[in-house]
Amino acid sequence: MGKILDLARNMANMILTSFGFESDITLTKDDLTVIIQGLALVHHLSFDTENQTVNSKNAHITVSESSLIAVNFPYRNAKNEVFLRGVLVSFEDSNGISKTYIVKENFADETLGTIVLNLGLYVE
C-alpha cells in the first residue's frame, strides 16, 4: 500500500473521529446499539418541485469504517457491500436536543474508508 494513501486514510479517520468537529452518534440496528464519533450535519434544504419551494431539511452523517469495525457494528451485507439502509441514527443538535433519523441512502468511499449516510426523520 502506498504510504500517502495510507496517510490519507488515517487522516480521514482522524478528521471524522477526533479532529474536533465530531459528534457522538448512536447507531441502532435490531437489538444492537453502539455509539461512535463522526460528523453529523443538519441544515436547510430547498425542496424544489415544479410548484412552490418547500423549505425542508437535510440531515446526514459521515463516519469512518474503522469506527464501525471498532464497535463490531455490522455495516456490510452478505455480499460484503456496505449497506446501512434502515439503521436508526440519533445525535444531539447545537442545543443538546436529540433527534432520531433512519438511514435512507449510504454512499461509501471505499478508497478512504468513509461512509456518508443520508438520513430521514423517524418517529416511534
Binding site: 425542496f47 410548484n51 425542508s56 430521514g120 426523520l121
Partner: protein, 197 residues
C-alpha cells in the same frame, strides 16, 4: 367612462370559492372521521412553504381562455386553476416515510377531485348559477429532483377548469348557505389562508 366600480371577475370569485369549499369540506371530512392530517389551505401563496406547515393545499389562478359566445356585454371563459398539494412524513416502525408521504399526497388529491366534482359543489358555494361546467383536467404528481430530503416532501397538482360567464355588469356572486361552517380568508404572515371560524 365606467360609472361603477368594477366588481370581482368570475375567475376571481371562483378561485376564492374553491378555497372556501375545500376548507369547509376538509373540516367536515375530519368530523366524519377521515384518516388524514387536516391540510392548511392557502390562496395564491408564493412564499416558500415550511416543512412544519405541511400538509398544504395552495389554490392558484392560472389562466382564462376566451371560450365562446361573445356578446356586447358578456363572454364565456374557460378558467384554469391549479391546486397544489404538499405533504411530508417521517418514517415510522411500520411505514417508510417516502411511501407514507406519497400516499397522503395522492389521497388528498383524490379527495379534492371528489369534493369539486360532487354534484353538490357544481356551483361551489354560490347561489347565482353563473358557473356552467367544471372538470378536473389532470392530476399529476411532481417528481422529486433530490433524494436527500429528510422530511420526504412530495408535491402534486390538480388542474381544474371552470367554464363561467364573464360580464362587466355588477355580478357579485352572492354566497350560498351550503355549509354549516363559515370559512374566513385571513391575511397571515405567510399570505392569504382559509380558516374555519
Amino acid at each position: 367612462m365606467l360609472n361603477n366600480l368594477i366588481p370581482a371577475q368570475a375567475f376571481e370569485l371562483i378561485r376564492d370559492a374553491i378555497g372556501r369549499v375545500l376548507t369547509a369540506e376538509f373540516a367536515n371530512q375530519m368530523t366524519l372521521g377521515a384518516a388524514i392530517i387536516l391540510p392548511n389551505i392557502y390562496l395564491e401563496r408564493t412564499c416558500p412553504i415550511d416543512k412544519e406547515e405541511l400538509p398544504v393545499i395552495n389554490v392558484i389562478y392560472a389562466e382564462s381562455q376566451n371560450y365562446d359566445e361573445n356578446t356586447s356585454f358578456t363572454s364565456i371563459f374557460d378558467n384554469k386553476f391549479l391546486i397544489e398539494v404538499y405533504t411530508n412524513s417521517p418514517t415510522t416502525p411500520t411505514t417508510d416515510g417516502d411511501k407514507k408521504s406519497a400516499l397522503a399526497n395522492v389521497k388528498l388529491m383524490g379527495m379534492i377531485r371528489a369534493i369539486l366534482m360532487d354534484h353538490k359543489n357544481l356551483y361551489l358555494d354560490f347561489t347565482d348559477k353563473f358557473i356552467q361546467s367544471r372538470k378536473v383536467q389532470s392530476i399529476a404528481r411532481t417528481q422529486p429532483r433530490i433524494s436527500n430530503d429528510a422530511e420526504n416532501t412530495i408535491s402534486g397538482t390538480l388542474e381544474v377548469h371552470y367554464v363561467a360567464e364573464e360580464t362587466t355588469e355588477t355580478e357579485t356572486g352572492t354566497l350560498g348557505i351550503l355549509f354549516n361552517t363559515v370559512v374566513k380568508l385571513e391575511n397571515t404572515e405567510k399570505g392569504y389562508k382559509f380558516t374555519i371560524i
